[in-house]
């Protein structure tokens, strides 16, 4: 899968409260509405500017905090093709794969806000078309590749009737 899009750069420690704040708790059963507020507390203009195919790029420990799966779900619903960060918090990482949102670990210091990016999931590389930087990202564990390829955990279970790890 080859993705191309614009970079929206964020800092370190973007929490699930930044992505899907508690004050919008009542929209959790209305995800398209909640998606209109995605990442609102980190950048109030993000939801209105993001276009299908764009990338969210963070620093370290992206997605820390609450286990709310609504956070990666609304990033995916907003049309973001992948999230790139130096590191991810554990629950967010797992949730993202479960909802079919690719999460890639690489040195995001070399990527700038507004850059054009090309990501090849199969070949495992990230290319910054604006500044010419090219880098490999850490491969996902095989179980996660399997779930992601099936289109998320619900689709995985639908397909196999159980977990199929190997």
């Amino acid at each position: 899968m080859l993705f191309k899009g614009k970079v929206f750069k964020f800092g370190d420690d973007i929490s699930t409260d930044h992505i899907a704040p508690g004050r919008l708790f009542h929209l959790r059963s209305n995800l398209p509405e909640l998606a209109k507020h995605v990442l609102e507390d980190a950048d109030p203009t993000f939801a209105s500017r993001v276009k299908p195919g764009d990338f969210v790029v963070g620093g370290k420990n992206f997605g820390l905090g609450s286990s709310r799966e609504h956070a990666p779900t609304i990033i995916e619903l907003a049309g973001v093709s992948a999230v790139l960060a130096k590191s991810f918090a554990r629950i967010f990482y797992r949730n993202a794969i479960n909802v079919g949102l690719p999460v890639l670990i690489c040195d995001t210091d070399r990527i700038n806000d507004g850059d054009e990016l090309e990501v090849d999931l199969e070949q495992g590389y990230v290319k910054d078309l604006t500044n010419g930087e090219e880098m490999k990202f850490d491969p996902l564990p095989p179980v996660m590749i399997k779930i992601l390829n099936d289109g998320g955990l619900v689709a995985h279970i639908q397909k196999h009737g159980d977990f199929k790890l190997d």
């Binding site: 929490s15 508690g22 009542h26 629950i91 095989p142």
Partner: protein
């Protein structure tokens, strides 16, 4: 090779022995969801057509984040969970019963269990030596239906804690200190395992606080070996039979060993907007505060209320501070009422909300105004956490919260030496049926003793008939005496009235 607690417990639930780094399929004993994550879990199961739960008796749906429901959308979410519980036989913990992580450990979790919960603080269960970890709605939904999940066996950090807590320093300060030291991502994907004489001596309430915040260092679990304290706690909760001693092997392999001497600790405060942004109390003192909050799955237990009640008793809350207190569960609420702490806090000027997550999630109640600062016993202080991205949250122990409520600015609880010394040995909350049974038995016994006494008295009375005459004589004498006294009194009042009348007359003249 020896095994850590995580390797032991996961190994018992997987096919064969496991080692850190391995990815395994594991059986799941306990599943929990709450009103923020449960409705999505229900919808995922509906999508999959999975209506039967693997273990409904140990699946618990909590209504705790928005209680009682603050909006129609959330009231509808509550309905979704109520209906799902009815349909599947899962347990429902209704609004007002308490926070999921407080109640689940009071009533369901046993040493050696694997628990997955759609809430990041599920790791609280590690205090009972269960491998407990937070996941998303879909993972927990599948766990509820299939009774299993996939896990990467984590590497373990061994945290060795020695020394005695100085007066005014608590397990909350210890965990904030550790997170400040290793960072909010210092233990990502790892398990923490607590050891040392301080942990061995620590009561269950303190241990629950430590395990609760493991996730704030990024950890997957925060485990404490089960021991006599665990046994006693389980007995008091009415499931002593579920106790199992689980210890890591002496030659277990740890990725990192961290040693802490708590006798050197001072109270710690986390500054906005990160848990690892910690300062010692001397560097935190003097920060003006608008609201303090005692509550959440980290610090809302009887012992926490006791410390606060002791410090604020008979004192006045600073007029510029609002004080919100929320007991962690209805059992805790009843106990703090019984012990008088509830009244003490009300007298001090606190406002008390029903058991639940309270202002911690920013859903409603206690939302900060723009630019306002809150010092809370919560576990995280991210931007926007309390419902307003322009609010500022500081984290500390209940004692620091109490001292701050008096001063109106962050204050050192160690100044209340006498009050802190008076804090008795913490008693674990008596909660369950077993405790009620004991109380019932005690009452029945007392009743029986009273009855027996009354019977004996009656018998004696029958035997001592002749004495009665003497009693009657005495009574007659008494009545006569009383009559004389009455007459005297009447005479006295008459005399007084006469004096008054004459006085009036003379005045008129």
């Amino acid at each position: 090779m020896g095994k850590t607690l995580a390797e032991k417990i996961i190994g018992e639930h997987a096919a064969g022995e496991v080692k850190a780094g391995q990815i395994v399929l594991a059986r799941v004993d306990v599943c929990l969801t709450q009103d923020g994550t449960g409705p999505l879990a229900v919808r995922q199961l509906e999508k999959l057509g999975l209506e039967k739960l693997a273990n409904p008796k140990r699946t618990v749906l909590f209504l705790d984040h928005s209680v009682p429901a603050s909006r129609k959308e959330l009231a509808d979410d509550h309905q979704t969970l109520r209906n799902f519980a009815k349909k599947t036989g899962a347990n429902l913990s209704e609004v007002g019963m308490g926070i999921c992580h407080t109640v689940i450990n009071e009533e369901y979790v046993n040493p050696g269990d694997i628990m997955i919960g759609a809430d990041s603080h599920t790791c609280t269960g590690g205090a009972l030596c269960a491998f407990a970890t937070g996941m998303g709605s879909t993972d927990v939904a599948i766990g509820m239906a299939l009774g299993k999940t996939w896990l990467r066996v984590p590497e373990t950090f061994k945290i060795v804690v020695n020394g005695e807590f100085p007066l005014g320093v608590f397990p909350k300060d210890l965990i904030l200190h550790l997170i400040g030291m290793i960072g909010a991502d210092g233990a990502t994907y790892k398990a923490l395992e607590w050891h040392g004489e301080t942990i061995e001596k620590m009561d269950m309430e303190g241990r629950l606080t430590l395990s609760n915040m493991a996730v704030e260092a990024g950890a997957k679990a925060g485990l404490i070996p089960s021991d006599e304290t665990t046994r006693r706690y389980l007995e008091e909760m009415g499931r002593g039979g579920k106790f199992r001693e689980i210890k890591p092997d002496p030659d277990a392999e740890y990725e990192r060993v961290i040693e802490i001497d708590v006798s050197q600790l001072t109270p710690v405060v986390s500054f906005p907007h990160a848990v690892d942004n910690t300062r010692i109390i001397d560097e935190a003192k003097g920060e003006k505060i608008n609201q303090v909050f005692l509550g959440t799955c980290t610090n809302s237990r009887v012992g926490d209320w006791e410390v606060v009640a002791n410090i604020v008793r008979g004192k006045k809350k600073h007029p510029n501070v609002r004080f919100i207190a929320v007991p962690g569960s209805v059992q805790i609420q009843k106990e703090v009422i019984r012990r008088g702490y509830y009244q003490t806090l009300l007298d001090f000027g606190a406002m008390i909300m029903p058991p639940g997550c309270g202002p911690c999630v920013g859903v409603y109640g206690g939302i900060l105004g723009s630019g306002e600062k809150c010092l809370a016993t919560m576990n995280r202080n991210f931007r926007g956490r309390m419902g307003n991205p322009e609010g500022f949250i500081y984290l500390a122990s209940p004692a620091t919260v109490a001292a701050t409520a008096i001063a109106g600015e962050i204050a050192d609880p160690r100044e209340y030496e006498a009050e802190l010394k008076a804090v008795g040995k913490k008693v674990v909350v008596p909660v369950t049926k077993a405790v009620k049974k004991v109380a019932k038995k005690k009452k029945a016994k007392e009743k029986a003793v009273k009855k027996a006494r009354a019977k004996k008295k009656a018998k004696r009375a029958v035997r001592k008939k002749p004495v009665r005459r003497a009693t009657t004589k005495r009574r007659v004498k008494k009545v006569a005496k009383r009559k004389v006294a009455k007459k005297k009194a009447a005479k006295r009042t008459m005399a007084k009235k006469r004096v008054k009348r004459t006085a009036k007359r003379t005045r008129r003249r």
